[in-house]
């Protein structure tokens, strides 16, 4: 049999960034009609490699062939013209524009006048052909996340892309939607498209990919492995370089008294629409309670109500018996609530301030750091140095501005700050997102340690595996209401609840 045709071939790719060698002589090839997974933890170099392929960056060294022809892209436009399309993890869609407007962006046609109805029709036809249902006239902000992803795919198909690069596409989808996506991908390969699937999730990669390439710290550790000829353990080892434990040690523990009680809370989101419609839950000392929900179903608003960052229109939130709703962030902090926010850079830290300044963000008001009107800088510095060592924050010194820290170290700063405040209630939102395996393990271990220390923890996470592994109980949130409370739930059950089935209805289904 002849060598299978290559849609893309990359040889010897090298790319530097300040302080890091992102791609170190990487080879990669993609066969026509296959789904090839690019596996690696955060920071391994997958995004850089693909950004080079799509023309966003230029490689320092190396060569690229597309359909047998040598190419060199100096802009995304050239890559698109060569038939390479990327569906980004963080969607590149203009929220206030319509689907069609987003698809037409950057094209030379229409020449001048924007006659949308004609193009709406074209988009509708394309979406029919590939089974990607979406309303061309809808504005992006009105669409669900799954629908937005379809728009991103349509964007590339409209431009005649033969190679589709999916960057962590399942991060924002519910389990059922992931199945749908995989079906769509297989349909597309039958139509002759080739797909590169970037992920760090071993389960999915084993499920969908024909072949797998693994990157670690910028180098290829395994090239073009056939999915049928490998297993999760081997892949994990290739990703991380050592044996990876998949289960966490979770001790048996009896929870204590209730620390957090949420009673029938109603709240609105930023648009004035109801985000929480009667949520009630509780968390006790010494337990981790998970909150499972697809993005946009009220979990952010719930966290904000508990931490005092958002008012609620009805209901109560009690921390250790004290009412904290509708007060302020300050009173929540004073009541002993620690918050590890979803957004490390925009919310959790001040980028240009030093590590010390970021560490004292919640403790500077009280002695020993507060001395009358002044702050005892020496004490602050000493405390910071202690925390830096204890939490293994990698940085030149405590005066370093935190914008220079890596994601993992940034999270360590936030954890150090929140945990050292000895809170009674800890709320962790997506705490392991974007971190490498080592950092992820560290965070999870820390959460379990806090649980053993009899703290109450609310864990909001998109990674269902993580939720199930770490939580004692899981509440499922859908459209601002609790669908059910699970003790030993299966993925399938939780997945159904995440998409709107109430727990009571589940029993009927069985």
């Amino acid at each position: 049999m002849a060598e299978p045709a290559l849609a893309v071939e990359m040889k010897g790719i090298v790319r530097h960034f300040p302080g890091v060698l992102a791609n170190d002589h990487v080879d990669f090839d993609l066969r026509v009609g296959e789904i090839h997974a690019l596996l690696g933890e955060n920071g391994a170099g997958k995004s850089t490699l693909m950004n080079i392929l799509t023309g966003l960056y230029e490689p320092d060294e190396g060569a690229i062939w597309v359909k047998g022809r040598r190419v060199s892209f100096s802009s995304p436009r050239e890559a698109i013209e060569a038939g390479i399309g990327m569906v980004h993890q963080h969607f590149m869609l203009v929220p206030s524009h319509t689907v069609t407007e987003n698809i037409l962006l950057g094209l030379d046609k229409p020449r001048f006048w924007l006659r949308l109805p004609e193009y709406d029709q074209q988009v509708a036809e394309l979406s029919q052909r590939f089974g990607l249902k979406v309303d061309p006239k809808a504005k992006i902000w009105q669409l669900s996340v799954g629908e937005q992803q379809r728009v991103e795919i349509l964007k590339m198909l409209y431009r005649g892309a033969d190679v589709l690069i999916m960057d962590e596409p399942t991060a924002v989808l519910a389990p059922q939607e992931i199945e749908e996506l995989f079906k769509t991908l297989r349909t597309m390969t039958e139509e002759g498209k080739s797909i590169i699937f970037i992920s760090h999730k071993l389960n999915e990669v084993m499920d969908i990919a024909d072949r797998i390439t693994v990157l670690r710290r910028g180098k290829v550790t395994a090239a073009g492995l056939r999915a049928s000829e490998t297993n999760k353990a081997e892949l994990a080892r290739l990703m991380v370089g050592r044996e990876v434990l998949f289960t966490m040690e979770k001790k048996e523990q009896t929870p204590g008294k209730k620390v957090l009680v949420v009673e029938d809370v109603h709240a609105e989101n930023d648009r004035g629409l109801p985000a929480l419609r009667g949520v009630s839950l509780y968390i006790r000392e010494g337990e981790i309670v998970g909150l499972a929900a697809i993005a946009g179903n009220g979990q952010s608003e719930l966290v904000e109500v508990i931490t005092g960052l958002r008012p609620c229109t009805k209901g109560r939130v009690l921390v250790n018996g004290q009412e904290v709703q509708n007060r302020s962030a300050r009173s929540a902090i004073d009541a002993g609530v620690a918050h590890i926010p979803e957004d490390r850079t925009q919310v959790g830290t001040a980028p240009n301030l030093s590590i010390t300044d970021n560490l004292i963000m919640k403790s500077y008001r009280r002695p020993p750091l507060a001395q009358g009107w002044a702050i005892d800088r020496i004490a602050a510095r000493q405390q910071a140095e202690g925390l830096k060592e204890q939490y293994e924050i990698m940085a030149p010194n405590v005066q370093t501005p935190v914008r220079l820290l890596s994601g993992g170290n940034l999270q360590r700063v936030i954890l150090a700050r929140e945990i050292s405040a000895e809170p009674t209630l800890m709320i962790a939102v997506q705490p392991t997102r974007g971190l490498d395996v080592g950092a992820i393990e560290g965070v999870r271990r820390m959460l379990l340690a806090q649980r053993e220390a009899n703290k109450a923890i609310l864990l909001v996470s998109e990674e269902l595996e993580e939720l199930i592994a770490l939580s004692d109980r899981i509440y499922v949130l859908y459209e601002g209401q609790v669908m059910g409370e699970v003790h030993d739930g299966s993925m399938e059950e939780i997945g159904l609840m995440m998409t709107g089935t109430r727990q009571s209805e589940l029993a009927e289904r069985r």
Partner: protein
Amino acid sequence: MTAAQPSSPRRTLYLPFRISLEQRMETPAWLPVVTSIGAVVVALIIGGIILRLVGGNPIRAYAHIFEAAFGSIGQLNDTLVKAAPLMLVGLACSLAFRMRLWNIGAEGQLYMGAFGASAVVLIPLLPPDTSPWIMLPTMMVAGILAGALWGAIPGFLKAKLNVNEIITSLMLNYVAFAWNNYWIFAHWNESGFQMSPTFPRSAWLPRLADYAEQVPFFSGMTLHLGIVFSLAAVFLIWFILYRSRWGYEIRLIGDNPRAAQYAGLNIVRNTVLVMMLSGGLAGLAGMAEIAGVVHRFQERISPGYGFSGIIVAWLAKLNPFAVVLVSILFGGLILAGREIQPSGIPSMLQGIILFCIISSEVLVRYRFSIRRQEA
């Protein structure tokens, strides 16, 4: 990949290597100082070129400026007199800018401060023979309060309604000018001239010249107590920004308001307070100009101190001590500017300096990297 992934704008391959801007990992302490000085030098060169275009002789003009500002003790005295209000306004702007509050209304706040101080004398709130120990502090308080009020308005609008403080504070400048003019023309003028009668001696800030009998060296030196206010303010602002809890809050809000909110800070309250303090300092400058320099209430009190103060703050990189130095520099520039033609030169030079400073900041945050590139 690290959390921050900066990259450069594309450049077509004309050369066998690629030049790009990359974020600096660390900033050596000397770099901002050197780039600031370099920027001023470049600005002077550019200013010189423009002077040439209008037929002037730049070297002679600059030499003249230097000599007029620092040539003799007398002139140095006059420079310091001009530097005093600049310091206060420079501090006012530094404080506000730290919190990313763009207070462009310092000029108006200065004028309102002048109004407040003058009102004490002209209404009159206190009789002319009141002891200076009572008169002057009252004028100070009135001036500070008037300036603080004028600063609080844009502060409040920004805090509560997210109204752009640049435009509101700027508009209030014009309102302040008109307000002062009304009182001068309609009520407080001296027999038809566009100014009030001279203030009684008790409303004069003491000057060095007052002590010429004891210290002959001081004769003719108009440097007044206002300079002490300015220097005291330097230490006050330094303490607030670098040592106090409030200063930490200000810096945190300025760096990342969302993080500050998350940390439990009250942004509304801090916005208004900072604008009030900023306005109050400018108001104090206004009082000092009235009581220390012009000794009457008149239409034109300031040659644009409020605007120059913005540039002073930026050139000093918002550092209180650097503000002192830069104020002296600019004070000299403004002083000399009265004598040279064309009269727009100090204003133009200030504009060019600010522009060069901003351009030079790129060198502090980024560095040029040259990488060999294979075709």
